[in-house]
């Protein structure tokens, strides 16, 4: 694979006060791939993502989006970089007082210099991309969790970003809806060629979507495995990794 490395994280260190959260993390994401950040609860995967989209500044290390080091860049340049990324938060983070259509229209109207009618047409196109036709005028509180994810996805995709960050896209959804969201993510990756970075601990999503993955661990505060998900499951000698992928508690591993 000779693709460009679109995101590079170099020697990232994260601290909250005196607590060390992530210790010296380095990895890179290639253009157009689906990259998964795996880890148990509390392993710092969401924290890692929040740093990668510039919501928090690292204690040390660099994060490159394209050629820009977002941890050390002027406000303007950072703002420019932001237009190339889309983020779907775990809670979908739709603005509660706006309809689905208004939520999706928000970035389009702000950054694309289009007239109201053109923005409305764009919103319609984006909503049909995620399969939300007919829900434009619903408030976020009136739609289900899966639809909220779709609406959040439509908003994240509004400006045709090069990189899409998804925080636990299938959390809190039933298996059927979760797999629908997974196929939507695959569809977006294949048709739009968007690089997708997913933070998740959902095994089904990991194996359906993941082309490459890294696994974070709470105790070592570092990457303990990387490679394809299947490889991590089958060939990794680390018991923590095997336990995670076989979904077994430590005891049964000892007995078997």
């Amino acid at each position: 694979m000779n693709r460009e490395e679109i995101v590079r994280v170099k020697n990232l260190v994260v601290r909250y006060g005196r607590d060390l959260i992530l210790k010296d993390i380095s990895f890179s994401v290639q253009e157009k791939e689906i990259f998964i950040i795996v880890g148990g609860s509390g392993s710092g995967k969401t924290t890692l993502m929040r740093h990668m989209v510039g919501l928090e500044a690292p204690a040390a290390g660099q994060i490159f989006i394209g050629e820009t080091d977002i941890s050390a860049v002027s406000e303007d340049r950072f703002f420019n970089t932001l237009k190339h990324i889309g983020v779907l938060f775990q809670s979908s983070a739709l603005i509660g007082s706006m309809t689905v259509a208004e939520n999706v229209a928000l970035p389009i109207a702000e950054f694309s210099n289009l007239s109201t009618g053109a923005v409305a047409a764009m919103v319609e196109i984006k909503l049909s991309l995620v399969g939300l036709e007919g829900y434009a005028d619903h408030l976020p509180s009136e739609i289900s969790g899966g639809m909220k994810k779709r609406a959040g996805l439509a908003r994240a995709l509004a400006l045709n970003p090069d990189i899409l960050f998804l925080d636990e896209p299938s959390a809190g959804l039933d298996p059927v809806i979760a797999s629908e969201i997974d196929s939507l993510i695959l569809h977006i990756n294949q048709t739009l060629g968007t690089t997708i970075i997913i933070v998740t601990h959902d095994l089904d999503s990991i194996f359906t979507l993941g082309q490459r993955a890294i696994m974070l661990d709470k105790s070592s505060k570092n990457i303990i495995a990387q490679g394809t998900p299947a490889d991590m499951r089958d060939n990794n000698p680390n018991p923590v990794v095997r336990r995670f992928f076989s979904r077994k508690p430590a005891d049964s591993l000892v007995k078997s």
């Binding site: 394209g66 190339h84 509660g96 309809t99 053109a118 991309l129 036709e133 048709t191």
Partner: protein, 378 residues
């Protein structure tokens, strides 16, 4: 990472055939960076009779995304065309991929953004909502009465600790602000009335004026307004937060009566505390009046107090306290009611708090007028 705007190679050429076919040759990029320029050029085209066939030629298009598709959609709307008279020419594989993601027929028909209905519909809807709100309020008062009866029948279900906590937040914590405001009110009242009364040499009546006005009218009202701003809004915010985060449903599922659990303690706390605060308010206001009387009007403190006591009757004081009690019920009731009414997201909490204050101040003034009418026809 290629989205720098290069509008000079945005655009299209138009070719019209005699047989009603119109062909748009797009060239360069047809994506997010060029869409605004294309649309601007489109809008300058004069509207015309719809052609039989619209051909969109993509041979010279280097890159296309769904913003480009949107340009074609707008073109269709401009020409008043359905998707059945739209044809694409020379679309390569990547263009096909983009085009396949957009349902031209459906999207062109879809009405983007819902508009609010016309004025009659809006009027009807808001009338229905008003009636619903009133019914809900009646229901709420009814369930409150039942909760009260239950609390009397089963004293164990009454939450004494919560009640005492609310007495502290509603009463004790409000003392400084009630005291200060009442003291200043007394000062101002005494000073302003002395300006008039001193013309007749009737300075001594300042004492009875401040005393009577405070005890029978302003004391209960000022206290109630302060409490509704401090605590009525807090009740609404607390309960609406619990409502939207499903905590109230959780209580109901565990077998608690939400009214008994949340409203009765607040109600009793307010009923105990507001009359006491009113007494404090009266005392502070009289002290404020006396400050003016002693330092500016040269009255002796003893004389001031004697006039005040002479002017006040026990009935007057009890009447004021009865009002305070009624206001307390109103404050707790509207605060809790607005909280239970909350629906939706986090903004509902703000709305609940605001409308609790507005409603309770309105009701306080309304009931105060009713009390005045009752007294005049006693």
């Amino acid at each position: 990472m290629s989205r720098e705007s290069n509008q000079q190679n945005a655009g299209f050429d138009i070719h019209e055939d005699g047989d009603g076919t119109i062909t748009f040759f797009f060239h360069g990029r047809l994506d997010m960076s060029t869409a605004p320029a294309c649309l601007r050029r489109l809008s300058s085209i004069k509207s015309r009779r719809p052609p039989k066939l619209l051909i969109v030629d993509l041979a010279e298009v280097s890159r296309m995304d769904d913003y480009g598709a949107m340009v074609i959609l707008q073109l269709m709307q401009k020409l008043n065309l359905g998707s059945d008279s739209l044809e694409f020419a020379n679309a390569d594989e990547s263009h096909q991929k983009t085009l396949s993601r957009v349902d031209f027929g459906r999207t062109a028909r879809a009405m983007p953004f819902g508009r609010p209905g016309n004025i009659i519909v809006q009027l009807g809807e808001s009338s229905i909502n008003a009636v619903k709100g009133a019914l809900f309020f009646v229901e709420f008062i009814g369930s409150m009465v039942f909760a009260f009866l239950k609390a009397i029948k089963q004293p164990r279900s009454f939450r004494a600790n919560d009640t005492i906590r609310y007495m502290k937040t509603t009463g004790v914590d409000a003392l400084p602000v009630v005291g200060l405001i009442s003291f200043l009110l007394g000062l101002v009242m005494a000073f302003m009335s002395s300006l008039q009364l001193s013309q007749f040499g009737a300075n001594i009546y300042v004492a009875s004026l401040v005393g009577v006005a405070m005890v029978s009218e302003l004391g209960p009202i000022m206290t109630a307004i302060i409490v509704s701003g401090r605590s009525g809004s807090a009740y609404a915010a607390e309960i609406s937060t619990m409502k939207i985060s499903e905590e109230i449903d959780a209580l109901a599922v565990m077998g608690f009566d939400p009214n008994l659990f949340l409203v009765i303690p607040r109600m009793i706390a307010a009923m105990v505390v507001v009359p006491i605060l009113t007494v404090f308010s009266n005392i502070f206001a009289i002290a404020g009046g006396m400050t003016i009387g002693v330092f500016i009007l040269d009255l002796s403190p003893g004389m001031y107090m004697a006039r005040t006591i002479e002017a006040l009757t026990l009935f007057e004081i009890m009447w004021g306290l009865l009002k305070a009690l009624v206001f307390a019920v109103l404050i707790a009731l509207t605060g809790c009611f607005r909280g239970f009414q909350a629906k939706g997201g986090a903004d509902a909490v703000g709305n609940a708090a605001t409308s609790a204050v507005v409603t309770s101040i309105f009701l306080i003034i309304l009931f105060d007028s009713i009390f005045a009418v009752i007294r005049s026809y006693w």
